[in-house]
């Protein structure tokens, strides 16, 4: 049985920075329980010696020559920002005032 509880869904949504309504918590708890149960058997397929694959095609790291190339201007980089000021991204307060 799944360990997905409404409290866990609320906690995970908080970690992922998504506000969720009570309705969504109820729905996601049900749906994620079914999904989690259905994927739980992955751990049965493997043993401790099975190596992990995080990338499908083996590749060596590559470096490019250290030469300056054209890049976005400051204005272009800010062009999609919801708010900006003095050539910077403008955001709300980081800390709560209380």
């Amino acid at each position: 049985m799944s360990e997905i509880t409404p409290e866990l869904v609320r906690h995970l949504a908080g970690l992922a920075r998504i506000l969720v309504s009570d309705e969504e918590v109820e729905q996601f708890t049900k749906q994620l329980s079914v999904i989690a149960d259905s994927v739980a058997h992955v751990s049965k397929a493997i043993d401790a010696d099975t190596p992990s694959t995080s990338h499908p095609i083996a590749m060596a790291n590559v470096f490019r020559e250290d030469v300056v190339e054209p890049s976005l201007s400051q204005a272009e980089a800010l062009s999609g920002a919801p708010d900006s000021a003095d050539g910077r991204f403008k955001v709300n307060a980081i800390l709560d005032e209380e």
Partner: protein
Amino acid sequence: MTDLIRKTASELAALISSGEVSSVEVTRAHLERSDAVDAAVHSYLYQSPEASLIAAAEADRARAAGEVSSPLAGVPIAVKDNLATIDAPTTSGSKILQGWQPPYDATVVKKLRAAGMPILGKTNLDEFAMGSSTEFSAFGPSKNPWDLTRIPGGSGGGSSSVVASFQAPLAIGSDTGGSIRFPGAVTGTVGTKPTYGAVSRYGLVALASSLDQIGPVARNVLDAAMLQDVIAGHDPHDSTSLPESLGSMTAAAKKLDVKGMRFGVIKQLAGDGFQPGVAARFRESLNLLAAAGAEIVEVDCPSFEYAIAAYYLILPAEASSNLAKFDSVRFGMRVEPGEKATIERVMAATREVGFGPEVKRRIILGTYALSSGSYDKFYGAALKVRTLIQRDFDAAFAKADILVSPTAPTTAFKFGDKIDDPLAMYLNDIATIPANLAGIPGISVPNGLAEEDGLPVGIQLLAPAREDARLYQAGAWLEKAHEEIWGKRMIDFAPELEVN
């Protein structure tokens, strides 16, 4: 104009190159088709006829001046809306990016422009490419031109429906677990997921970076091959881009020979439990191949049993990390939750409003799979299953040059059938997911119509990494064999759409 829109991309390229028709005429014919049918089909999220025609006029000027940009010069194309375009909004099917206009072009888009291919518009998709039906697009679903009450596949249902409804001869898709191949199968069109790294992902809104691959969507195999030749190649902007060329897909598609090729039928995907018409057409194609001198062998891939589970852990894990960039700071939507609007509250409020249900579900699932206490038994285990799947493929390709299966278990289902049951939706991808986990190339080719519903089914061909050419060689042969049996192209069986 009707005859222009029904032509293949290679035919159009030849007509344009010889000067018989202009790119402007071809582009205008497709734009007029969209005016007539897209209100019903809803393939496009955005079109700018003016910009398309300017690009077409430039292609005509270049041709007249003797400049040859590519074998597809002047042929217009539609682009999935998760590719960055400097001159058009790029939403990825999400409200959170509504109205965002990127300050740069994706590498693939740059290549299309350099190839002289006018862009007709941006096509619909499930939000951030999460889905199999386009029902999760924030801007409403696209319809299957064969039956407007049915899904066109997903996530790239905009790109499949746009070529199936003759609004574009070609389109670009992206395939993370089948998002090019499944839509191809259910709309009677061709879709390829190239080898991972064959096509640059720079400028693709990332879903799961180790699985995503951009590829061609077309109405026949040769057109798809020609398009892959245009968009493939190393890109210094994508660190996972393959350094080597994979050769000419166009040349492979023209060989039309399968004699002596070994086709491996994957025991786990041989059609058991699939819709009867899908399984029947699959067996017929095996007989066709055998009659033409190909060798049919059975291969066993026992780990495929775990492929969907591994995929639905790896994908959400990577997506939860990739989608963290939608933080209401650098681009996209910002929602202020009223008083005490700290950046964290703004972020959470923005993501609540900006993301749809499937995206939230997968981000939360991915966060769970990666969280301490769950990591080893979920994400960690899934990465190990990925190794087992690669080993299964390695063993199978020792016995066969190409592996074959139906592309999907069923024909196009009806809208609403699976929307409330995420697991049922995920099971559509049972045949397509293993290729993404292993990074190998796959193609879906039209494989006749299912007897019980008259809807198109697809056959999937898989090849070892970097052997994309085999898919085009065998795919083009199968396509020709089917056209000889059925008397015309599969797409020509699609009912006429009512025009406005």
